[in-house]
């Protein structure tokens, strides 16, 4: 139906302030996410359980199978994937809270306010993304245990990529939340979308030498293009012998074409913009 918050007559004094009031709104919605995050300590802790379990079970389990090439083993390979997994799950779960807001009514308080839906959605996305980035970065503390070297530059690169990945996934989650009225619906979507997306993104296994059908799915999965750059920068900072580089390949190839890093980032950015826009449209609907 009609898209609300269309701009009114330009004579309106408040409209000179629209940009600054939108910024203030974005800041407030973002702050609320952080406040809620800090207050739910159990959520912080439990959101580490799954990735750590994966890291150790999968990492150690597969390492014995895959073996060590030039001092590089599967644990080190999977580590960036586990960081990505932490970021993605946290981002999606932050976005879920909108469905809670809907059930507990707070969403109405936001939607009736004279602010643009864009500011609300962007604030929410930034908030969820920040929380997810923090969680992912905390995971880096396990790096020494795995034998992955961290440099200040690497940490900065990782944070940047986490922020991008987290924003894209939160925007996606916010869009899903805009279409879903009840909590149960979200659980279903997550089981059917989130977990397949993670498992088929190359986070947990190399993308080369897999069956063709699987290769096609992984190349369609946008998350693939968010995970690969993360692994790329982590590997680039390690002193990997040529044999290890060949054994644990990075980079996504499509019909033999190696998608360059910048293009991967562009793909994730496009994903972000598309779902941000869809989310804004989704919340502009009236019944």
């Amino acid at each position: 139906m009609s898209v609300t918050s269309t701009t009114a007559a330009p004579t309106h004094p408040q409209h000179h302030l629209a940009a600054s009031s939108d910024l203030r709104t974005i800041g407030m919605v973002w702050r609320r996410e952080l406040i809620r995050f800090v207050r739910t300590r159990t959520r912080i802790l439990t959101s580490f359980v799954q990735p750590i379990l994966f890291l150790f079970v999968l990492g150690y389990g597969m390492s014995s199978l895959v073996g060590t090439t030039g001092g590089f083993d599967f644990k080190k390979f999977v580590f960036p994937g586990i960081v990505a997994m932490t970021v993605v799950t946290t981002a999606i779960f932050s976005a879920i809270s909108i469905v809670w807001d809907r059930e507990f009514g707070f969403l109405r308080e936001m939607l009736v306010a004279p602010v643009s839906r864009g500011a609300l959605v962007i604030g929410k996305t930034l908030g969820g993304a920040s929380v997810a980035t923090v969680q992912g970065t905390i995971m880096l503390a396990l790096a020494p245990l795995i034998g992955v070297h961290l440099t200040p530059l690497l940490v900065l690169e990782v944070i940047g990529l986490e922020m991008l990945m987290a924003s894209a996934l939160t925007a996606f989650g916010v869009f899903v939340a805009s279409r879903i009225q009840r909590m149960e619906g979200f659980q279903v979507v997550m089981q059917l979308v989130l977990f397949p997306m993670i498992f088929l993104s190359g986070a947990l296994f190399p993308l080369s030498g897999i069956p063709a059908w699987l290769a096609v799915i992984t190349r369609i999965n946008p998350l693939t293009y968010a995970v690969d750059p993360l692994r790329h920068v982590v590997f680039a900072a390690q002193n990997m012998p040529a044999a290890a580089v060949a054994r644990f390949e990075t980079g996504v190839t499509i019909f033999g074409y190696l998608v360059p890093l910048y293009l991967e980032i562009v793909i994730v950015l496009v994903f972000l913009v598309v779902f941000l826009s869809l989310a804004i449209v989704g919340f502009s609907k009236k019944d």
Binding site: T6, S20, M28, I35, V115
Partner: protein, 338 residues
């Protein structure tokens, strides 16, 4: 960011615009006609009440006036701004206390208000003072740093009312504002609401199914099944149905109703009584009893109440939902027999 004082709201869309103008407004949800074409006008500074039973269409009307629901017929405007085409202008000048709770349970009372202040563009320099005043008004100043999840239902309600007033809207919508409040808090809330009207000229639109609450309003619209069946001041509404109300509890209400109707009385069937609307109750009791033609158990004669008005116009009674509130003797009489 540059800090600018929020300038006073720009004037109404056009000269002589009413606070609320509603013309044949309708809402259909599939098969359900929630609101079937209502029309009314609310003046600036007026307290206007929608009185109606569950499912009458009160909330649906409010949602349309607050731009949350798209009308399927007719039109409505706030200060001359159409709710469908000028949603943002409308939102800028309204406050809304929802029927359901809409607080963030994981934030403190103060944080909830701060969030609201930002959403409504309250100037930064004024935010603290306004929050203080709002919390004092609803007597929650000592609980300002407590999470809302630790509040009782009544406290949360008070906080929501304080929040609705925080940005001093031009029109304040209150959807069943006092549900779950004890009598003292209700009275306090009304003091606040009426002060807001007096001092800031705020227009108030409220819905309720409490008769005594509707009495606070300058004018009352009785709404039933999506239609306004009567609209006037409380006094005028009562006058239209006659000077007195005679209530009979009989052994056979059907028979009594039939006989009285045949005898030319203006009567309505309540759930377990027959009510006659007459000019001089005391004088006519004897002839009413004689005309009823069935044994009478009790007779009550009183001035019409809004409950009687409602019964008169809809043929049904609004029952007090939740308890609480100063219950007039009239209600106690009903309550006892339930």
């Amino acid at each position: 960011m540059i800090e600018q004082e929020r300038s006073p709201l720009p004037p109404a869309a056009h000269e002589g615009a009413h606070a609320i103008e509603v013309d044949n407004l309708a809402k259909r949800y599939g098969e359900v006609e929630a609101v079937k074409g209502v029309s009314f006008t609310v003046e600036h500074g007026e307290v206007f009440a929608f009185l109606g039973p569950n499912g009458a269409g009160k909330t649906t009307t409010i949602r349309m006036l607050c731009t949350l629901t798209q009308p399927t017929g007719g039109r409505a405007s706030i200060d001359g701004y159409d709710v469908s085409t000028r949603a943002r202008d409308v939102r800028q000048r309204i406050g809304l206390v929802f029927q359901e709770q809409t607080l963030d349970q994981q934030l403190t009372a103060e944080e909830n208000l701060r969030f609201h202040a930002v959403l409504y563009g309250v100037p930064k320099s004024e935010v603290d003072a306004r929050i203080d005043r709002a919390l004092r008004m609803v007597q929650l100043i000592d609980r300002r740093s407590d999470l809302v999840s630790t509040f009782s239902g009544g406290m949360a309600r008070r906080l929501e009312i304080a929040r609705g007033m925080l940005h001093t809207p031009a029109v304040l919508f209150l959807d069943e504002p006092t549900i779950g409040l004890d009598p003292q808090t209700r009275a306090l809330m009304w003091e606040d609401v009426l002060r807001l009207r007096r001092e800031e000229g705020v227009t108030i639109f409220l819905t309720t199914h409490y008769m005594e609450e509707a009495e606070y309003a300058d004018r009352i619209a009785i709404i039933d099944q999506g239609k306004i069946v009567a609209l006037d001041t409380s006094g005028a509404l009562k006058r239209t149905i006659g000077a007195d109300t005679v209530e009979l509890a009989t052994g056979n209400d059907d028979l009594a109703a039939k006989n009285l109707e045949a005898a030319g009385f203006n009567i309505k069937r309540g759930d377990d009584e027959v009510v006659a609307f007459v000019e001089n109750g005391e004088a006519q009791v004897a002839s009413i009893i004689a005309a009823a033609g069935t044994p009478i158990r009790t007779v009550k004669v009183h001035r019409p109440t809004l409950e009687d008005v409602f019964l008169h116009y809809t043929g049904r009674q609004i029952r007090e939902g939740q308890g609480g509130g100063p219950t007039p003797p009239h209600f106690m009489h009903f309550a006892r027999r339930r």
